[in-house]
């Protein structure tokens, strides 16, 4: 640190130095702060979008399987005679799997087959049937020749158990009353360990439910429950997938009738009513889509997606001076800086728009076996961030005023899809897609309307329902 008098004097003198900066400095700083804020907001959206996509992808390839097989193998007769039921039933269920007591008629000749069956479980002491036996006689399944198959209500945990147990043995679920087994002279099978444990777990968890079922209705209520396969068909019709597209966007501008420039100059020769040229620029969207089959060839779809579009303009040079521009309804808007259109086609500014969209529509396959389908619909979009200039035709300037933008937008959309791949787990469709902004980007404060148009290619990856 200098200790010389000269340096001290110079420092003290120069510390007094102050100037008033021009207003443009603050406006530019402010604009940059806003840009940073928008970028941060976008960065906040991105992880959410990635999460959504990740979840969608996971669901697509590892999502829940809705078919949980229940194999009905063993039945017991009231008089202690066992029988192997050769039929195997698959129960399709969303949340719960029913295990019920189904009366069947068995002959004594089949008991020996049951005894020799390697997958039966004689040690299951907490079987629902045992509990059922403790119930009053009137609540027990009736009929001397009726034997029982145990069904119960099973939650998600049980589903896992079933899944774990099945691949090991591809074994049917055998739930059997041990006392009756003993009565029938059945001995534990030595090779039934793991399956038996898994089945015991299932049966014990299902125990109380089965009891409840037995109390409330007996066999008749439950007899048909496994066969209600169509109960979940509505939900099965819904398919999920990832959608994305990229293309070019351009904007269609038109003066409003209440614009003073338009009303005073329209039709006058030599007056320039045209907007300065704009250049098409990139646009893309990405999101999730759900489809529901209405019939073999028709689907409706809905989705949630993020979309970005931009248009390049040639606003001219920045002028940091206050000005007033005509807005709609003959009102004036004061602005602090603007771009003066120079007439040169120097596209040095990019209008950027960020939306979150909910598309809704219908898709129709062209013929039963055709790979082509057409779609049409609407989308509700919300403008989450914008970095764009508006044009004032009278003063021929571009200026920035975000309050002129409509936050909510309605679009109409349509396209053609071609089924490129159909694999076991997914279907890939591609095709041209277009979208047009019905409601307009600008509200009535602006002296003109601006409708966005997107044209590009869409890719749709849908999970295939087996």
């Amino acid at each position: 640190m200098p200790d010389n008098h000269f340096e001290h004097k110079a420092k003290n003198k120069l510390d007094e130095l102050k100037f008033i900066p021009s207003e443009a400095v603050w406006l530019n700083v402010q604009a940059q702060i806003k840009k940073d804020k928008d970028r941060r907001r976008l960065l906040l959206w991105l992880p959410a979008a990635c999460l959504l996509l990740g979840a969608g992808t996971w669901y697509l390839f590892h999502g829940k399987s809705k078919i949980y097989p229940v194999h009905v193998i063993s039945t017991l007769s009231e008089n202690g005679k066992n029988k192997i039921n050769p039929s195997s039933e698959t129960v399709e269920s969303e949340k719960n799997r029913a295990i019920a007591v189904i009366p069947t008629d068995h002959s004594a000749s089949n008991v020996q087959q049951q005894i020799n069956h390697p997958r039966y479980e004689p040690k299951n002491k907490r079987s629902p049937l045992k509990e059922n036996r403790q119930e009053p006689e009137s609540r027990k399944p009736s009929g001397a020749n009726e034997s029982s198959m145990i069904l119960g209500i099973e939650g998600r945990d049980q589903k896992k158990d079933v899944r774990k147990a099945e691949p090991q043995t591809n074994a049917p679920v055998i739930i059997q009353d041990s006392k009756k087994s003993r009565d029938a002279g059945i001995n534990p099978a030595p090779d039934s360990g793991s399956v038996a444990r898994a089945n015991r777990k299932i049966s014990s968890k299902a125990d109380s439910t089965a009891r409840g079922i037995a109390k409330t209705g007996g066999d008749d209520n439950l007899k048909n429950s496994p066969r209600k396969k169509t109960r979940t068909s509505n939900q099965d019709n819904i398919q999920w997938g990832i959608t994305g597209g990229a293309g070019l966007s351009s904007h269609f501008n038109r003066f409003r009738n209440n614009n003073p420039y338009y009303t005073s100059n329209y039709g006058v020769p030599g007056n320039d009513h045209s907007f300065p040229p704009e250049k098409q620029s990139i646009s893309f969207y990405i999101g999730l889509q759900a489809q529901k089959m209405l019939n073999n060839t028709t689907k409706i779809f809905a989705g949630l997606q993020y979309s970005y579009s931009e248009v390049r303009i040639a606003p001219g040079n920045l002028v940091n001076m206050p000005a007033a521009v005509y807005a709609g309804n003959y009102s004036l808007t004061n602005i602090n800086s603007y771009y003066l259109v120079s007439g040169t086609n120097n596209y040095n500014y990019t209008n950027q728009y960020h939306f979150v969209e909910i598309p809704l529509g219908i898709e129709k396959q062209l013929g039963g076996k055709s790979r082509f389908s057409v779609n049409a619909g609407i989308s509700l979009a919300w403008l989450v961030a914008v970095h764009a200039l508006q044009y004032d035709p009278q003063t021929r300037i571009y200026f920035k005023e975000n309050s002129y933008f409509n936050k909510a937008q309605w679009n109409v959309l349509g396209g053609i899809e071609y089924r490129l791949l159909q694999k076991e787990k997914y279907t890939l469709k591609i095709g041209p897609q277009f979208q047009y902004g019905l409601s307009g980007l600008l509200n009535r404060k602006s002296s003109y309307t601006e409708h966005a148009f997107f044209g590009g290619f869409q890719v749709l990856l849908m999970r295939t329902r087996k």
């Binding site: 640190m1 200098p2 010389n4 008098h5 000269f6 340096e7 004097k9 110079a10 420092k11 003198k13 120069l14 510390d15 007094e16 130095l17 102050k18 100037f19 008033i20 900066p21 021009s22 443009a24 400095v25 603050w26 530019n28 700083v29 402010q30 940059q32 702060i33 940073d36 804020k37």
Partner: protein, 186 residues
């Protein structure tokens, strides 16, 4: 200090009024700082703008140990140096070569001129001299620190400073003489 804390808190919450208040509080004096490092007011405003963008971007990193003004000033000085390094117009003159100026002058001249006139004299120095003079005499950096900031040796910084200082003193004496002459003439 407490006011500064509140101001910073409000700025970090993204309140435009607080951001403008912070800007208005320091803009004038910081433009004075930028003015000393550049050759034109437009360049000074560019540096000021860039500096304030950094101030708002990194405000969350400001630790309340020192004064906010000093922190803002450091950002402005660093921004000005980066600006000089990046800008072609200044790059050629920031070569820190000896221009062959060896004025001999008094050690402690009279400082009868105004702040702006002194700043204008400093701005007439070659950019290399100007930057080193500002960093050493006004900001208080050591020659080792200046060497690191500008990518030169501390010896170069020292010798350039002494030449800048001598040149400035000669000009100051000349200015004082002119002032005296003018006052006698009146």
């Amino acid at each position: 200090m407490t006011d500064d804390h509140k101001l910073i808190r409000d700025c970090l919450k993204g309140r435009p009024a607080a951001q403008q208040e912070l800007y208005e509080k320091f803009a004038g004096s910081m433009l004075g700082v930028c003015y000393r490092y550049t050759k034109s007011m437009s360049d000074a405003e560019d540096v000021l703008q860039e500096g304030f963008i950094k101030v708002f971007r990194y405000l969350s990193q400001y630790k309340s140990e020192g004064e906010l003004g000093a922190w803002v000033r450091r950002i402005m000085v660093n921004t000005a140096i980066n600006y000089l390094k990046k800008n072609r117009h200044y790059q050629a003159d920031l070569s820190f070569k000896d221009p062959g100026l060896h004025p001999v002058s008094a050690d402690n001249p009279e400082m009868r001129i105004e702040a702006k006139e002194l700043a204008d004299l400093i701005r007439q120095l070659p950019p290399g001299y100007q930057t080193i003079f500002n960093l050493y005499a006004v900001e208080g950096y050591s020659h080792v620190e200046i060497g690191k900031m500008l990518g030169i040796s501390d010896v170069t910084s020292r010798s350039q400073y002494s030449r800048a200082r001598a040149l400035l003193i000669v000009w100051l004496e000349k200015e004082s003489g002119d002032l005296k002459k003018n006052s006698y003439a009146r």
